[in-house]
Subunit: 849 residues, 2 copies
């Protein structure tokens, strides 16, 4: 899905998609039966029958159908013409959208389907739309994507036509599962009441027990009379009009009607119920009423489907047919007000671009079938299995894949935990112990960590203690900041110029410097050769000297490489971080109070000098910036340095389930070896290395690596304007997937344009999938409590109403702000089209056009 | 699966299960072709063809097959006779196990299949076994369970025969998915090379891209000649001997052979690789070599499939046929030593009862298809979606289900996090803030929690600080115990008598008391009426008075209700915990230093008195004991009291993925309301309320509730001997699922028998699914560092070798010990049969019979 399409949900229009457990199971007959019966029961409503794509083999069946519907208005014409339903309401129409030439893209097809449904909803106050698919659930659509995958974004509730023949039990259950694992709600299973096999008996119990889904059986239709079309039509007419068929269909329709009502009432009530019973993370709930809560119906790719505000909650509930299906009396047309009618034709859902990537977790898109299948495979093979002194394939393969991907001479061990916060606590426990042993301190020695101002590593108490005191934590009872946090120079494109802003009051580092490109800022080795690191080095040394003089003891250097995310989307000058690491590593004398008392442990056989930590263990918290967020497997490659411990989460599972991996060097690991169990790293989680997480992570990491190798981000890398001449040259030489320089999915020109709106924008930067817009904060305070970005956020949230019927419906942007910074984060599968749409919307709102 | 069955894996015997994408897709023809070709290529190996169950409709196809295999030794006889393969090696045998009368249970059928395969492996040094299933993947087996579900425990790698007909693409993909999500490894897809539809072209790309699974196509077999059996047989013979069929089959066999080798070599190498690269939780890795690491191939129900130790690693790798399939030269019989031959016929895998319930997580069994489907549905519908100020159906429904299940007048809010450790940190943040506001302390006031000795709440630093100093945490750099931990009386069956042991040095509480049953111990209200709580009350009051005098300030009372798990499986006298809560609640004067300065906040409209906390907020950490672990939805029901905050994890997701819910009262929630964001509970996780976790938890909790309502534990409750007369009476009156008293899946008589082995057993208890055996610790120290239970653990780990061919193969028990305590924990679906087997094994080993 390259561009947004809103799911098919209207208050007035009940849309059901009809899938078949196999080809030739009677989809068309059942759909016709449902449509005809609906027309009988809801006389003043329109009933529409859409077949978006048709295979050649099904044309015959179509032909047969057209004898059974009325009025079949100019069917041939309609088949080739537009998707507009007739303007006259209350007409039972039959439409087929054949494959067009050229074959439409999946997006175009989805937009057409949605446009068709939107026209139905707009035309009629009330009605039914049945969309028949072609063949079985996994029969390929026009582009080759199978229909079960193709139609996910529309998320129409579904009817599955089961297979009554020999083997049909298996077909029906498997087809159901293929739909279910893609998030479809199959509301009803229909099949013929075959006498020979009686599949319906088994299936009725099966679906009731396992899913609570009703199964309905209808008698077998008359044998086809190929020689005599007229007799065939009469026999079919007879069949459709039979009491058996009519009664079953009426019952099914009533179930479907009820499901529609209950889906709407669920969606309508969720925010209210949430405001009563949910305690939200990181939220001042006195400021968040039910109206502020976003109701998410589903999500696919980069887009949520969210509930649009509405005025009327009961437009359809009054139109239920009489409850006895044997005497179907359509309800009297309730006196609907104009307002009700209007609200009923307005779509219920819109597409919302997930611009926080769901708190920075999304990599391969919401509801990615590959990840679902990976999760389900591991669930089916293992469930969860205990991991202390045990091993299973996904955990081992993931560990090896991560270690290989990091390409670090240092890292050789993988410790699994549940999330970034616990994973950084693990890293701290590792680092502090190593330093304590090396420097010969006892367990009661107060140890601190060295970090950067605005650092954030999570909300568990140990992770919080690694962050500088501030409004995040100052009121939390057990918080006690345990560290020293250095200032740092930042990078921002200001008024079109790439600027490194020095450290406020940072010992002669207050100055700014301009660079001709972000690539030049990131060319740390050239800048080092030019001596640009010297003042940084001096600043760091002076700081360490001061801390030593004050008698403070440190156990680790802990950094978020390149970007401080929660700290306000600050892009740190990479030369500074590189210098900081180098100084710490070369300066054990700043940390040891008795450097010679405790002899260094003899190097282990596997340990080369490069694996041995010096100075302090260096921890990189790559939870936010790692795994292609910034365009590369690891952001440490920008620094041309390797940590002794690194922490990976969020994108690790492609955005599906929590999992964290803390990687460490053998040197750190060896610190915990002894004959005594209590010297071990006594940390564990019940779901340590849970197979679902590991399998999904394995699939995600490998998929992202192979996307890089296949050059799937070339559109951005090549055309984004980010590469300098040298990098362009290397890419042209075929250095795909390697050393791809500094780039972003957000075009350089766009970022520079934004930054030129200087009355509103202080500066902007983009790297990898992240775009950060630092807004001018007129009120002056900046920081987390600033409101400067809220206006822009709200404008993005207003989004794009649907312009016409074929544009995929309304969409907006769900973004989060950090103080005066609004950021928009793409996933690793965001399309060029989506980026273009977002750039337009952002520029419009920021330039005030 | 009610009793263990070991998966089908031998070094010598390559077992493949053949599934069909539908009925009548050529399963039998393909299986015959593979078997015949295998016999040609591996001339000195035996090739066996097993059809465990057959449907009537398939008899015809079977009939046809029997003409194509040779020697078909007395087929009719074999069909009805035993499953013993012929004693003569190197025979291509064809066997069918028809439905027996009475219909065999699933367990019996699986044991028969395994026994058959075990005989094949024992008979021949090398060979192939092809097991053909009946119909499609989900065609029902004898018991009505579909075959895809039925055969999960055997976990034979599989070949899927695809469907070459119209609609066959869809059938093939759906069937594949049904297998995949149950953890099957489908190693090859075979189908006919139909000219009309060419499904194989599409499928070849599809399976390659999505799963890396090869697809092979063979020309269509000759039309069946129903009139002339002889001509039919000749035509088929011709077909099987054709170059096309032979070449394709040879290539497929080579792939299957390679897959077999690589599965073995993976299994063989995993422990070694893990010992090099995994950093294990809570493990002193200098004491754990590769040989100590348990390799888990898969898991189902209560059993892992674990790698048995073996002596030879390469018995089969030398038997590969020549690499060119067009000139198939079977390898010369390598000079295999007797040892190799022996090792080759020994099974590779055994069933291991997961007696720690995978660190106490397992509720509904490993690889439960219902949970898999729930997880996959949520993955397909949402992936993960951000939860701050947003809501989705699974999170909301789970919150409502938990609140309703707790049936507490206090709890009304649900905060989601990732695991028990983070969830208790959230609880602490909630409780401390509430107390601080109530008592008017400022943020820098040092607040502690009140708990029990040996308490454990997790390994993140905040959770650690809630635990008393001890060997778990004394060497951890940032650990700082923040609390006071009371002693408590414990319950144990000693020498057959249910004994409450008083508090060592606990102010006159040192005495023990005997009760006639555990039910009497748990009848806290009767005991209270008899004044038994009075000395507890006095002890608690004296303690609180002392703490107040010492100037200490407390923010919460935090308990693991009923059982302290990590603290050594201590069953606490429930009357003590009840009394402790009651005293704390009625004694605000012990906690406030200026009780009148800060007026109590006016009660909120929704807040009744019962919702308002008094004294201290009471936190129940129900992570281990909650959600039916002890036989009830919540262990607080044993205490007849309700906490203000409760924490739920582990069993919450039935043992599939990490998730935690911290429930709180409106009174606690209101503490955090203000116009200021920084007064909010500033805690959050990226995957907060991830839909997969919520959907799986919803399925799990509802399933356990409905198991209770259906009386699925009646075998234990009725026959376990736990209920007292009154409770028996109430159950007979039909009080199913309600007030089911105190019971365990471990029979009372068994527990009492164990406790009578007084030279080895100090005492034992069982409640719900937990059995704890406190062993006599001759060395004297007890506690975590004790080794008393290790001998018993190792005896259980030796387990039961396979006695004969039809017993499901070897099984053992994988248990964990806590100091001198060995515990065996069942899941909520453990069968009476498994419990009986375990009781026997335990008694044998403990009684030394």
């Amino acid at each position: 899905m390259k561009s947004p399409v809103a799911s098919l949900l209207w208050r007035s229009l009940r849309v059901y998609q009809v899938f078949g457990a196999n080809t030739d199971v009677g989809k068309t007959i059942f759909t016709t039966l449902l449509a005809r019966t609906a027309k009988k029961l809801w006389k003043d409503e329109s009933v529409t029958f859409l077949k978006p794509v048709s295979t050649g083999a099904e044309d015959e069946a179509d032909e047969r159908l057209r004898h059974s519907v009325q009025p079949a208005h100019g069917s041939k014409g309609i088949r080739k013409s537009t998707l507009s339903p007739s303007a006259s309401a209350a007409v039972f129409a039959y439409m087929t959208l054949l494959y067009e030439k050229p074959v439409p893209s999946d997006d175009a097809l989805l937009a057409k389907c949605r446009g068709f449904a939107a026209r139905c909803a707009a035309r009629d106050n009330k009605g039914w739309l049945f969309m028949e698919t072609a063949g079985g659930v996994h029969s390929p659509g026009p582009s080759g994507k199978t229909q079960a995958d193709l139609y996910i974004p529309l998320r129409a509730p579904s009817v599955l036509v089961g297979d009554a023949r020999l083997g049909g039990i298996s077909q029906t259950i498997s087809a159901f599962e293929s739909l279910r694992i893609r998030g479809y709600d199959v509301e009803s299973v229909l099949l013929f009441r075959g006498d020979t096999y009686e599949n319906y008996r088994f299936l009725t119990d099966y679906f009731q027990e396992n899913y609570g889904v009703p199964v309905s059986a209808v008698s077998v239709p008359p044998e086809r009379q190929t020689q005599d079309a007229e007799r065939d039509a009469a026999a079919l007419e007879n069949y459709y009009s039979s009491k058996d068929a009519g009664e079953v269909a009426a019952q099914v329709l009533e179930q479907l009607h009820d499901k529609h009502i209950s889906r709407l009432s669920d969606l309508d009530s969720l925010a209210q119920r949430a405001s009563r019973h949910i305690w939200y993370p990181f939220t001042q709930q006195s400021l968040v009423g039910a109206a502020d809560i976003m109701t998410i119906d589903s999500a696919h790719g980069d887009y949520f489907q969210t509930l649009l505000p509405h005025r009327d909650r009961s437009s359809l509930s009054s139109s239920s047919p009489s409850t006895s299906p044997s005497s179907p009396l359509p309800s009297s047309a309730a006196a609907t007000t104009a307002e009700t009618a209007e609200s009923a034709t307005v779509p219920v859902l819109q597409s919302s671009f997930d611009a926080s990537a769901s708190w920075w977790t999304q990599g391969l898109g919401h509801s990615n079938p590959k990840l679902t299948l990976a999760a389900a495979y591991a669930a089916g093979r293992y469930g969860h299995v205990m991991f202390a002194s045990a091993v299973h394939q996904p955990a081992m393969s993931l560990a090896e894949t991560l270690l290989a991907g990091m390409a670090s001479p240092r890292l050789s061990r993988v410790f699994y935990s549940d999330n970034g916060s616990t994973g950084t606590e693990v890293a701290v426990k590792m680092g502090l112990r190593a330093a304590r042993k090396r420097y010969g301190w006892d367990a009661r020695q107060k140890l601190e960590i060295l970090g950067l101002k605005g650092a954030y590593h999570g909300d568990t108490m140990g992770a919080m203690d690694c962050a500088e005191p501030g409004i995040f934590n100052e009121k939390i009872e057990w918080y006690q900041g345990k560290g020293h946090w250095l200032s740092y120079p930042t990078v921002l494109c200001k008024a079109g110029r790439w600027t490194v802003t020095g450290i406020d009051g940072g010992g002669g580092l207050e100055d700014s410097a301009e660079f001709s490109s972000l690539a030049d800022v990131f060319d740390v080795r050239a800048r080092e050769a030019a001596g640009q690191h010297a003042p940084y080095e001096e600043y760091v040394r002076a700081t360490l000297r001061g801390l030593q003089t004050a008698g403070r003891k440190f156990g680790a250097l802990m950094l978020e490489p390149i970007v401080l995310g929660s700290g306000g989307m600050q892009l740190v000058d990479p030369l500074f971080q590189r210098t900081l690491v180098n100084v710490v590593r070369s300066s054990p004398h700043f940390f040891a109070d008795k450097p010679t008392q405790q002899p260094q442990p003899p190097p282990q056989p596997e340990t080369t000098d490069e694996q041995e930590w010096t100075g302090l263990p260096v921890i990189f918290d790559e939870v936010f910036t790692g795994l292609y967020r910034l365009g590369r497997f690891t952001p440490s490659s920008f620094l041309h340095t390797h940590p002794d411990i690194s922490v990976h989460a969020k994108l690790l599972t492609g955005g599906l389930v929590p999992l964290c991996a803390t990687l460490a060097s053998e040197s750190i690991f060896n610190t915990f070896l002894s004959p005594d169990k209590t010297d071990a790293l006594l940390h564990g989680h019940s779901y340590t290395a849970h197979p679902i997480g590991c399998q999904v992570a394995l699939e995600s990491v490998r998929e992202m690596q192979s996307m890089e190798a296949r050059g799937e981000w070339d559109w951005a890398i090549q055309r984004g304007g980010w590469l300098n001449d040298d990098e362009q040259h290397r890419r042209q030489e075929g250095a795909k997937g390697q050393a791809q320089g500094v780039w972003s999915v957000w075009p350089r020109g766009f970022v520079e344009d934004l930054s030129r709106v200087t009355d509103r924008v202080e500066g902007a930067w983009a790297l990898g999938s992240v775009l950060a817009i630092h807004l001018q904060d007129k009120a002056g305070s900046g920081g987390y409590s600033s409101n400067a970005a809220l206006g822009l956020r709200d404008a993005l949230s207003a989004g794009r109403p649907s312009g016409h019927f074929d544009d995929g419906g309304p969409w907006n942007v769900h973004s989060r702000v950090l103080g005066n910074v609004l950021y928009v984060m793409a996933s690793q599968v965001t399309s060029e089209t989506s980026i273009r749409q977002l750039c337009e919307l952002l520029l419009e709102n920021i330039q005030g056009r």
